[in-house]
C-alpha cells in the first residue's frame, strides 16, 4: 500500500487534484468555525466572553500534538523503509506544527492572564508544550543544517522519534501533576464535560485546522519536490568543462534558488 504512493510523480498528479478541494474546504470550515465561535457560541457562566479564546487555543493544541505524531511516524517510515516521500512529508509538516504550537502557547498565555492572573507558570502542562515547541525548532534546524538533504533528514528523523516521549507527558501532565491547567474535557474516557453549544464550534474549528494542515502540507511537499527536481536537473546538466562530474556539495551550494 505504501509503495503505491511512494512514487513522487504519482504524488504530484494526485495532489494537484486534491489540493484546491482541501484548500477551499479548509477556508470555508474555518470561516464557519469563526462565526460559531465569535457569534453563535454562548459566553461561559464563569469565564464570560474570555472563553472564546478556547476556540483557537484548543484546536491549535490538538494540531500541535497530532502534527508532531505525524512527523514522528513519517520519520520512522523514512528511517526504516527509506520511503522517498516520508522524509519530505516530515520536513514539510514540522514548520506547520511549530506554528500551531506557537499559536497554542501565545493564545494560552492571553487566556491565562485574565483567568489565572498570570501570563505563564512553569507547571507540567505549559512547560511540556514549550518543550514540544523547542523539539519542532530543533528538528527544523537539524534537517536544514546539512548540504545533503538525505543526511539532514536522517538526523532529524532520529530527533523526531526520540521526542515522541514528550507526547504522553503533555497529554497526561494534567492528571499526573498538580497544575493550573484544567484537565481534558473533550478527549477523555466517558462523555465530554463540555456543553454541545461550545463543543460544536470547537469541532468545526478543529476540522478547519486539520484541513489547513493537509493543504499546507501538500503545498510544502510539492514545493520541496520541485526544488529537488530542479537541483537534480542542474547537477545532471551542469556544464562539464572538466572531465570529472562536479562535486555535489559544491554544485548544491552554488544554486541560490534551491534553498529558501
Amino acid at each position: 500500500m505504501l509503495s503505491r504512493f511512494a512514487n513522487p510523480a504519482r504524488f504530484m498528479r494526485i495532489s494537484a487534484t486534491v489540493l484546491p478541494w482541501c484548500g477551499w474546504l479548509s477556508v470555508s470550515s474555518i470561516v464557519a468555525g469563526l462565526y460559531l465561535a465569535l457569534f453563535a457560541a454562548p459566553p461561559d457562566y464563569q469565564q464570560g466572553e474570555a472563553v472564546r479564546i478556547m476556540y483557537v487555543h484548543v484546536p491549535a493544541a490538538w494540531m500541535a500534538l497530532n502534527i508532531y505524531l505525524f512527523v514522528a511516524v513519517a520519520s520512522g517510515i523514512a528511517l526504516v523503509w527509506r520511503h522517498p516521500l516520508a522524509e519530505i512529508a516530515a520536513r514539510a509538516a514540522a514548520p506547520i506544527g511549530a506554528a500551531f504550537t506557537f499559536v497554542c502557547l501565545t493564545t494560552g498565555s492571553l487566556w491565562g492572564r485574565p483567568m489565572w492572573g498570570t501570563w505563564w507558570v512553569w507547571d507540567a502542562r505549559l512547560t511540556s508544550v514549550l518543550v514540544l515547541f523547542f523539539l519542532y525548532l530543533g528538528y527544523i534546524a537539524l534537517v536544514n543544517a546539512f548540504d545533503d538533504p538525505g543526511r539532514g533528514g536522517r538526523a532529524g528523523s532520529v530527533l523526531a522519534l526520540v521526542g515522541v516521549v514528550n507526547l504522553p507527558i503533555i497529554k497526561f501532565s494534567v492528571d499526573w501533576w498538580n497544575t493550573l491547567h484544567q484537565p481534558a474535557s473533550v478527549l477523555r474516557f466517558g462523555k465530554p464535560t463540555i456543553a454541545t453549544s461550545m463543543l460544536v464550534p470547537l469541532l468545526v474549528m478543529a476540522v478547519g485546522f486539520m484541513l489547513l494542515f493537509a493543504t499546507l502540507l501538500v503545498v510544502r511537499m510539492r514545493a520541496e519536490l520541485n526544488e529537488r527536481k530542479t537541483l537534480a536537473l542542474r547537477l545532471n546538466n551542469a556544464p562539464t568543462s572538466a572531465t570529472a562530474r562536479p562535486r555535489p556539495d559544491r554544485a548544491a551550494s552554488a544554486q541560490p534558488a534551491s534553498v529558501p
Binding site: G48, N226, L233
Partner: protein, 57 residues
C-alpha cells in the same frame, strides 16, 4: 452602535480575546502565504530550467 460596541468589548475581555484571534490569523496566514509563494517560485524555477534544457537539445 452601542450594541456593536458592547460586542467588541467582549464583556471586558477585549484586550485578550481579539489579540488571541489576530495572532492566530497572523501566524497561520503568514505561514500559508509563505508556503504558497515558495511553491509558486519552485514551479517557475523548474519550468524555466526545463525550457532551457529542452531548447539546448
Amino acid at each position: 452602535m452601542s450594541a456593536l460596541g458592547g460586542y467588541f468589548a467582549m464583556g471586558g475581555y477585549a484586550a485578550f480575546v481579539w489579540p488571541a484571534y489576530a495572532l492566530t490569523a497572523a501566524v497561520l496566514g503568514g505561514l500559508a502565504l509563505h508556503s504558497w509563494q515558495r511553491y509558486r517560485k519552485s514551479v517557475r524555477v523548474l519550468e524555466r530550467l526545463q525550457q532551457q534544457l529542452g531548447s539546448r537539445r
